[in-house]
Symmetry: C2
Subunit: 336 residues, 2 copies
């Protein structure tokens, strides 16, 4: 029952299906170009809570319960949950997933966590370890700024290379069958460290990791970029996108026709003043739930390579002068 | 190919094997009762590095390379790595595992991470997704005090209920066959929140989660405590141990004959002034590598339930007045 393909990918013999998804976002995301497609847009970014962290947990809880409800399941039918967020010690997830009482695998892959969670949930369902498994990730502008950058009260200036952390949570339920989207394979990513150190230019930190994972996916499955209708990264933004396309050209692949980035799609950067794009664990997750999966369900796109990207820094590692390595996990989604 | 058993456990039809393990610790752990069994004891807790965080990464890197070497493998033969630590955004793991270039699933389950990593690595190998997978976790007294408590320079007093974070890293290589220890099943844990809020009494925060996972394991596999030679928790310490035994008695199971706690074993608390015991992701990992696995290999113990325990707090959640939920992941290890 060997399901390994190539150097680092898995090709499922019995592909699991994404049977439902949900997206919950804040008001800024609701005002963006994808506004009409989200399941729930909160009127205020605090989601009625006292702290940004609790707001993020509430958002996760809403997303998870909505996805489970759409799948017409009870929370107790979901056997395992794969979840994570950007905060230290995953507190958004710990408090956001507590209510459902589901056994939890806590994950951290920075903004790539949505890919990591989908990969592991798919691997779990495809192996017969669960009838239903869920993947859940989130980020919140308020909690992320506090975690990684400056207190918001400082009103610090953001350079044009900076991205805006998405306030949003996406949840997904996977099962052996059902619905019109299947996960045919995954390419878990390696850490790629090119020595970048600018935490206001995360696209540049993550693009080499995206390149590595996409390249490896094409090699492992013996494909060309044109074999995918779309190759969609998580949150490279406009600068990271240029770097990614250039890096892959150097390796012999031109993905300029197929490439799309969730961070570029989620905001109207001119009107919303978000600079290079959106970012965060929630960015790829809510764009997947609201826009990518519906297009695959309808067959507009037949095969998509979804590649959430993460920058592996903390404020401690940054302040100690460490580099910012990147990681990206690839998930192959197909219409069925 | 249904491998689900009971409510939340997995019973492997083809159990993967733990083919090698390695433990790397600091000087205090080397002076403890398990000193002679560790693979490497650093003369200084800084491992020759400039910061506690880099020291922890170096420790991880040593542990991983030692385990891979003992398995007579090249790093490139390990297909996937499941790793984590206690630090915000897993920086010890990001920088500690970078060198091997192995696709990484970053995990966070507080001090339960060793169980989470072993569970996922086992699930991955048993499903035919990898020939070799590795599990890697660490903690460091210096980096953990900085992350969770007070700057060490304050010289703050620790109450007798407090545990001492172990400076140590454990690494494990899993494969479909080889060696004399197999992973027969896993019981991934749920978050259990009894409302405890004392970060100087982590044993009390985690004991209810350990109780929940052990109880569920016994129910799912239809076993009695006596069916295990040992039931070994990660880092409950002396206070948590009493609570766990009492809670399970209330549920009809007496584990007082089988129970052992890695946190109690690793230090001589009288002589080493460690109070309630050792703790941290590294605690369960290095006790497993140095003492538990060798006893199973030799057949001294035929079947062990290994249950690393985690307390899901961050300094932000703690300072915002949140509770400290617990989680525990169970792994069944058998002699073969």
């Amino acid at each position: 029952m060997n399901q390994m393909t190539g150097k680092q990918s898995i090709e499922f013999q019995e592909p699991p299906h994404v049977i439902s998804s949900a997206s919950v976002v804040g008001p800024k995301e609701g005002e963006g170009p994808l506004g009409e497609w989200f399941d729930l847009i909160a009127p205020e970014a605090d989601f009625g809570e006292q702290t940004w962290e609790e707001a993020e947990s509430t958002m996760q809880s809403e997303a998870l319960q909505t996805a489970i409800g759409k799948a017409k399941l009870l929370p107790s039918q979901v056997r395992y949950l794969f979840g994570g967020d950007l905060l230290a010690q995953l507190i958004a997830t710990s408090f956001g997933s507590e209510e459902t009482n589901t056994p939890l695998f806590g994950l951290y892959g920075a903004c790539s966590t949505c890919g990591e969670a989908l990969a592991l949930a798919s691997m779990t369902v495809a192996a017969g370890y669960a009838d239903y498994a869920a993947a859940l990730t989130s980020s919140h502008f308020g909690s992320a700024e506090k975690e990684f950058r400056f207190p918001q009260g400082y009103g610090n200036q953001r350079p044009l290379s900076a991205t805006w952390t998405v306030t949003g949570s996406g949840a997904f339920v996977l099962a052996p069958k059902g619905g019109h989207v299947k996960v045919c394979g995954v390419t878990p990513g390696r850490i790629v460290d090119m020595g970048a150190r600018d935490n206001m230019n995360m696209g540049a930190c993550m693009a080499p990791a995206a390149c590595d994972t996409i390249y490896q996916n094409l090699m492992d499955f013996n494909r060309q970029p044109g074999d995918y209708d779309k190759i969609i990264t998580g949150d490279l933004g406009t600068i990271g996108q240029r770097i990614l396309i250039d890096l892959l050209k150097e390796k012999g692949f031109d993905i300029s026709q197929q490439h799309m980035d969730c961070g570029i799609e989620i905001y109207d950067s001119e009107r919303q003043d978000t600079h290079a794009g959106g970012s965060g664990c929630g960015c790829a997750a809510v764009v997947l739930a609201s826009m990518i999966l519906p297009k695959i369900r309808k067959g507009v796109w037949k095969r998509v390579l979804f590649v959430p990207t993460g920058a592996l820094l903390s404020k401690v590692s940054f302040n100690e002068g460490q580099t910012i390595p990147g990681i990206a996990h690839g998930v192959i989604l197909e219409h069925c």
